[in-house]
């Protein structure tokens, strides 16, 4: 204790001292790797020329990349819409009082505690050719022959979307539920007095006041949907590449960090563009709350 006894650092010195380790760590092991990736993406593999667009030319001309790009966009658009729809429906259901509400809420939150890799592995039992969804559809008399969910087409993307929904709809629901519970009850009473219908209350009271929660959910989920990796890798692997798995396969299969870096950089660019565009549309102050 002796060296600390008479220690009276200024507030600023203390802040710098306390913030330095974390800042240095994140600069060193998050920001500089990203910078390194961007540099690599502009470096020619054969000639080591810098800057060069060779990797981007290769990637953009690559059939698998266009597929990965399209797949990522479809998964993001479809996934976000469905997660928001079901998340909102669940939040509205759970905002009303009913018997066993606490139990249902606890049950709904279970997927949040299940590792992504596990949820992906489990969905293979659901969507396998001799899996349980096919068996269910067969017993309902809806299909005669098993559906091949892993053929790499839209059906396969749908399995990724459903698996992702399983894992993250509870998160969307929690965010929206917090928003719903923050809306003062008097507003609904006032609306009722003015003769508003259920739908009008939802449309003119709930939705506008839920805007910042929806924005938060969309941004968090949007970023993760673009970056989605472990889930499609485990569930569908090479049959339906997304941008992240494309970048991984470039590194793994062709041992080419340069094109892998170019893929990752393009993905980063997409995320940045989407977030900035979205914030431009809804305004930044929504997010800070």
């Amino acid at each position: 204790m002796s060296f600390t006894n008479g220690w009276k650092p200024s507030k600023r010195a203390l802040n710098v001292l306390f913030l330095a380790p974390l800042t240095v760590y994140l600069l060193g092991l998050t920001l500089s790797p990203v910078a390194y990736t961007i540099v690599l993406s502009f470096q020619d593999r054969a000639s080591q020329d810098f800057p060069s667009l060779a990797n981007y030319r290769a990637v953009l001309g690559h059939f698998q990349f266009s597929r990965a790009l399209l797949n990522t966009l479809v998964i993001t658009a479809l996934g976000l819409s469905l997660e928001l729809l079901f998340g909102l429906a669940m939040a509205l259901a759970l905002a009303s009082r009913f018997l066993g509400r606490g139990w249902v809420r606890a049950l709904m939150l279970i997927p949040l505690g299940v590792p992504t890799i596990v949820s992906a592995a489990n969905m293979r039992y659901v969507f396998g050719t001799v899996g349980y969804l096919n068996e269910f559809l067969y017993r309902m008399g809806l299909i005669e022959l098993p559906v091949d969910w892993g053929d790499g087409g839209f059906k396969t993307l749908l399995t990724v979307v459903v698996a992702d929904m399983w894992k993250v709809t509870p998160l969307v629901m929690l965010i929206l539920l917090a928003g719903l519970e923050a809306i003062p009850g008097e507003l609904y009473e006032a609306a009722s007095t003015d003769g508003a219908s259920q739908w009008q209350k939802f449309r003119y009271v709930t939705l506008p006041l839920l805007k910042s929660s929806i924005t938060m959910a969309l941004i968090i989920r949007g970023i993760d949907a673009f970056r989605i990796f472990a889930l499609p890798l485990t569930l569908v692997g090479r049959s339906a590449p997304v941008l992240s798995t494309y970048a991984y396969f470039e590194y793994l299969d062709y041992n080419n960090p340069y094109t892998s870096a170019a893929g990752a950089t393009l993905l980063l660019l997409m995320i940045l563009t989407a977030v900035v565009a979205y914030l431009k549309i809804v305004g930044t102050e929504e997010v800070l709350h």
Partner: protein, 265 residues
């Protein structure tokens, strides 16, 4: 309206539970009941054969050991680095606080494959590739922003007046921190440590990029998925999931939207 809500709740509940039921079911089922044209939905011939095989194979304990050690050191490292920073952030002016919290959040915009690739390449040169310390360092990249976020929330609940009172009573800066602030923040510290532990326990991407020989448990799951062995996959996924579910259940009341913003993938 009531009926629609009821039906929706029931449908979502079934959708939530079914995959987990299937996981446990497959892990205790006779292969003849699973690998068939029309598998039954109930467990017809229960067997512990897959569990015995996993626990007796010697393939289970090394990944368990690695996952346990890496997760524990990641949690300790996260506290070591994030506690001071989070304290400082919680005592900053509003606009600085938001700027820092937001920039922590922005680290999440980077695609993991774009961060893991250069880290793997650098760690190969530094001799950290395929080692425990290397994986801990990489997991901290992913865990630190979330730990700092949770901890900032914890420190914000401790009134500044307490620190001022301690200073008036003659406590040094160091004494105020160790004898007043940290003890009061202990619940928050535990939540942050447990969360960090969990995130490392289930982390997949960095482990995938940084591992050649000694797999962690999530990598072991991936390995068996790719072998196409449903039964061993189911057994391993159950083993990975159980501690996570127990811990998250315990942490449930701390699962606030704000934390979750960063904590759940």
């Amino acid at each position: 309206m009531k009926g629609v809500v009821g039906a929706l709740v029931i449908a979502m509940a079934v959708f939530t539970v079914a995959p987990l039921y299937l996981m446990v079911k497959v892990s205790v089922s006779d292969p003849a009941d699973i690998m068939t044209q029309h598998p039954p939905f109930l467990i017809h011939r229960p067997t512990l054969r897959h569990w015995n095989r996993v626990l007796a194979s010697g393939e289970f304990w090394p990944p368990l050991k690695k996952s346990l050690i890496v997760a524990t050191f990641t949690a300790l490292g996260a506290l070591l680095l994030a506690v001071p920073a989070a304290y400082a952030i919680s005592r900053l002016q509003r606009r600085w606080k938001y700027a820092l919290l937001l920039s922590l959040f922005f680290t999440r915009m980077f695609p993991e494959v774009g961060v893991a690739l250069p880290i793997a390449m650098t760690f190969i040169r530094w001799g950290l590739f395929d080692t425990y310390p290397g994986l801990v360092l990489a997991h901290l990249v992913y865990v630190l922003p979330i730990a700092a976020w949770i901890l900032t929330g914890a420190f914000e609940t401790i009134p500044r007046e307490l620190e001022e009172a301690a200073a008036v009573d003659g406590c040094t800066t160091w004494g105020t921190l160790t004898r007043v602030v940290l003890p009061l923040a202990l619940p928050g510290l535990s939540v942050a440590a447990l969360f960090s532990w969990l995130l490392s326990w289930e982390e997949f991407t960095f482990a995938l990029y940084l591992t050649l020989t000694e797999r962690t448990l999530p990598l072991q799951v991936y390995y068996y998925v790719y072998q196409g062995n449903w039964f061993l996959t189911a057994t391993y996924t159950t083993l990975v999931t159980v501690p996570v579910l127990l811990l998250t259940y315990g942490l449930q009341r701390y699962l606030k939207a704000g934390y979750l913003a960063g904590a759940i993938k």
